[in-house]
């Protein structure tokens, strides 16, 4: 049995935040869940996918977040409880659906989980998705701890049904990837078959309908505001005339800071857990009872501006501060010491002593950046493209996945990246605007996510670009989730179709299509050279399974290689490939046999043919 199905209400279990969220959804009786994987939210889906294999839960890895949201929106309009899971930037993709779903609403409860990533541990930006609640007019719930994330899930579903609106559930990385004891609640038997009742005057958003639906949304907004005023998720603790307003993980840092600074009888804390609509009355009363107020929130001054506006409306002039040069930044994540220092500064206390040790004598330490795995097929493809493009001036837009790491030396393949699927769209723009050869890179999963429209655009507008599709048979970076191109039957998982990338590309009318096996270096270079020389849209599909994935599937491994006597220490292998299986033993290049996957790419490029398979025995 899956551990998240443990039927023991009251028992405590150690859980990752993402496990607690999945458990919370199960306790709420979720019937349909859909996602496109994205850190820091991915483990929620991983567990729900596993659970869906043994229960009546419907779970879908959708092609992108917009589709994931639409799947869940329809299920909720068929009366079922549905969950849609995505990282913060995923909500940008789904925003078109979100904005008008807010007008239409839902019948069954629907929760949209958005996982924000302050500091950008694994994201391209650190946007603050609380503004999506404000933009769409939808309610938003934000937990401050792992156990609360579980408990708030069920409340979010109830709230959604009460209002007939989807509810946004916002986490940050430090909720998703923290671990703490969680107390299990009961697991209900969910209703898993719904029915759709036709209501075209609510569900078909032509202008005349939408004009009335906008009125409905604003009425719901009012109702939600009243619920927010009364919600136990918005609460005041402590006593004193110094006020702190906070939300999310900052609440824990504030509690620790107040204890460390011995301020328990000086500071009152308003913790906001129902963060849209904000409880304006409650905030106003809180501020009115304080001499001064500090707002502690990561990201944008969302609460701070709202608190100031609420105070102003009631003519209250109590100082309210949050972001500022001497206080908090909009940048990155907070930590306990930072919050303690800002609290001390703002309330005029002596700043707590800094306890770090002297590191002035620590030498410059070599960095340990992430690197493509030893034997990663992307390295082989990048090498082949680089060789094939020698002498050609290129611009190489890239995309989001493990292969983004190809922009680092020594491969240095990747010149432009803004979002999922941007490789192809920007390739069109670079081709239109410059005289250089544009070679774009996109992964298989990203191609399905949002690469196809860009490619259609390239064909229609007759751009001269080469698109290299790095097809490694999985969504590698987020933990090897399936995508529509994966042969699920070969993994022993029934009930899935399969979309061939090559068939899609050919059907779009791409003028030149080749499939290469990147571990065959010479052949790949020759084929890519042809594709680059082609005038018009050419596509190279580079097919080789992700080696880390192959290992996790326990596929047989090729024999490792070693550096033999013929080595004359040119170090072409290290300098051109940057495979982490190489290391220097004194001045001699060697290969770590435990890391080597036997892809043989280095053996094929060594000018001395010095790299040979490890002998048996």
């Amino acid at each position: 049995m899956h551990r998240l199905l443990t039927d023991a209400p009251g028992q405590q279990m150690l859980m990752l935040g993402n496990e607690a969220i999945a458990r919370g959804a199960l306790e709420a009786g979720v019937a349909v869940a859909s996602t496109y994987p994205g850190t820091p939210s991915s483990e929620i889906s991983l567990h729900l996918f596993q659970i869906s294999r043994r229960t009546d839960l419907t779970f879908e890895y959708a092609t992108n977040e917009k589709v994931a949201l639409e799947v869940a929106a329809a299920a909720a309009n068929a009366g079922l409880r549905s969950l849609s899971i995505m990282k913060h930037v995923g909500l940008n993709v789904a925003a078109d659906a979100l904005m008008t779903l807010a007008y239409v609403g839902v019948r069954g409860g629907m929760v949209i989980l958005t996982a924000d990533d302050p500091f950008m541990f694994s994201s391209q930006n650190e946007q603050d998705n609380r503004y999506y609640a404000k933009l769409s007019g939808l309610p938003m719930i934000e937990p401050s701890s792992v156990d609360e994330a579980r408990a708030m899930m069920a409340a979010a579903f109830d709230l959604s049904e009460q209002l007939g609106e989807p509810v946004l559930f916002r986490t940050t990385t430090r909720i998703n990837h923290s671990t703490a004891p969680v107390r299990l609640g009961p697991l209900p038997e969910p209703r898993t078959r719904g029915d759709f009742i036709k209501e075209p005057l609510r569900c078909v958003t032509v202008p005349a309908v939408s004009r009335r639906l906008h009125v409905r949304l604003l009425e719901n907004w009012e109702k939600a505001a009243a619920l927010s005023e009364a919600s136990a998720f918005n609460r005041v603790t402590g006593s004193g005339t110094w006020g702190v307003i906070c939300s999310g993980v900052s609440h824990g840092y504030v509690l620790d800071a107040v204890a460390d600074l011995h301020l328990t009888d000086r500071v009152r804390i308003l913790r906001i857990g129902f963060s849209h609509p904000l409880p304006e009355r409650m905030i106003t009363d809180f501020v009115a009872g304080c001499e001064r107020v500090l707002v502690v929130e990561e990201g944008e001054p969302y609460l701070e501006e709202a608190a100031r506006a609420a105070a102003q409306a009631s003519g209250i002039t109590v100082p309210i501060r949050g972001k500022g040069a001497d206080l908090f930044s909009r940048l990155y994540e907070f930590d306990p010491a930072l919050v303690r220092r800002c609290l001390a500064v703002y309330f005029g206390l002596e700043a707590p002593a800094v306890s770090t040790v002297d590191r002035s004598e620590v030498p410059d330490l070599p960095q340990r950046p992430p690197n493509l795995c030893a034997g990663c097929s992307h390295r082989a493809t990048f090498y082949a493209v680089k060789k094939a493009a020698e002498g050609v001036e290129t611009i190489c837009p890239t995309d989001i996945g493990c292969y983004t790491l190809g922009f680092l030396p020594p491969l240095s393949m990747g010149d432009f990246l803004i979002c999922m699927g941007s490789s192809v769209g920007t390739a069109c723009g670079f081709a239109a605007a410059t005289d250089k050869k544009v070679i774009a890179f996109i992964g298989d999963s990203t191609f399905f996510h949002s690469g196809i429209p860009g490619l259609v655009n390239a064909v229609f507008n007759q751009h001269d670009i080469t698109l290299v599709i790095l097809d490694n048979g999985t969504t590698a970076m987020t933990g090897h989730q399936p995508h529509p191109g994966v042969d699920m039957a070969a993994l022993g998982i029934q009930g899935f179709g399969r979309v061939s990338i090559e068939a899609v590309v050919r059907a779009l009318g791409v003028g030149h299509v080749t499939v290469v096996r990147p571990y065959r270096v010479e052949k790949s270079v020759a084929a890519i050279r042809e594709a680059i020389a082609f005038k018009g849209v050419s596509v190279v599909i580079s097919q080789e399974v992700c080696t880390l994935y192959a290992r996790s599937l326990k596929r047989p491994r090729a024999k490792a290689f070693r550096v033999g006597d013929k080595c004359r220490n040119h170090r072409d292998c290290i300098q051109q490939l940057g495979c982490p299986a190489f290391y220097l033993d004194g001045q001699q290049v060697r290969i770590d046999a435990d890391l080597c996957t036997g892809c043989s790419v280095c053996a094929q490029i060594c000018p001395e043919h010095a790299i040979v398979p490890v002998r048996e025995g």
């Binding site: 150690l14 070599p366 880390l548």
Partner: protein, 196 residues
């Protein structure tokens, strides 16, 4: 309950997350409040994995610079890099087996001298316990049990609100059955390696 803050730094694949999980489960079983967080962005691609474990009455799940009471480093360079987390009373436990990052092989940086590295850490913190965890793990039956060797050493240092038997019990019941014996042997060898 007094708060104890522990940072574990490792290179992806060294089993740091399992080590944290064992400590977390042991704490839960013993009724010690515990919260942890981890950053494992692209761990499998050779990056650094950092876990923070906070025992006792605190609400935060992360640990600020200068606020770790204990630091366990699975790799010496990473231990030195984590010196920013230490204060003058911190106890540091480190493996001495280097895993040079790839940047060293391509000439972008020099791996620090191990003696110098130890002297630097030792002169800044309350105590440094350094051991060749890889060798001890191998002797215990598997190089993969480096994490358990270091847990043994950590529990012997004795600054956590957890006793070694609780951790032994968790290793016995919570690590994969086929590895439990080797894991326990590795734990004991790390434990025995540290002298008062």
């Amino acid at each position: 309950m007094e708060t104890k803050r522990l940072i574990i730094v490792a290179v992806g694949g060294q089993g740091n997350l399992l080590a944290s999980k064992v400590l977390g489960e042991a704490a839960l079983a013993a009724g010690v409040p515990v919260r942890m967080s981890e950053i494992h962005g692209m761990a499998q691609r050779g990056g650094v994995v950092e876990s923070a474990l906070v025992f006792g009455d605190a609400h935060s799940t992360i640990i600020s610079d200068g606020e770790a009471d204990l630091v366990v480093g699975f790799e010496p360079l990473e231990t030195l890099r984590a010196l920013n987390k230490c204060h003058a009373r911190t106890v540091v436990v480190t493996n001495l087996t280097p895993l040079p990052p790839f940047t060293v092989a391509i000439g972008r940086g020099v791996y620090p001298d191990l003696e110098h590295l130890q002297n630097l850490i030792r002169s800044r913190v309350a105590r440094l316990v350094a051991l060749d965890a890889a060798a001890l793990a191998k002797a215990a039956g598997s190089i993969l049990s480096v994490n358990m060797v270091l847990l043994g050493a950590l529990l012997r240092v004795g600054n956590l609100p957890l006793d070694a038997d609780a951790v032994r019990e968790t290793i016995r019941t919570r690590t994969k059955a086929e590895f439990a014996a080797v894991n326990l042997a590795a734990f004991e060898s790390g434990f025995a390696h540290v002298r008062d």
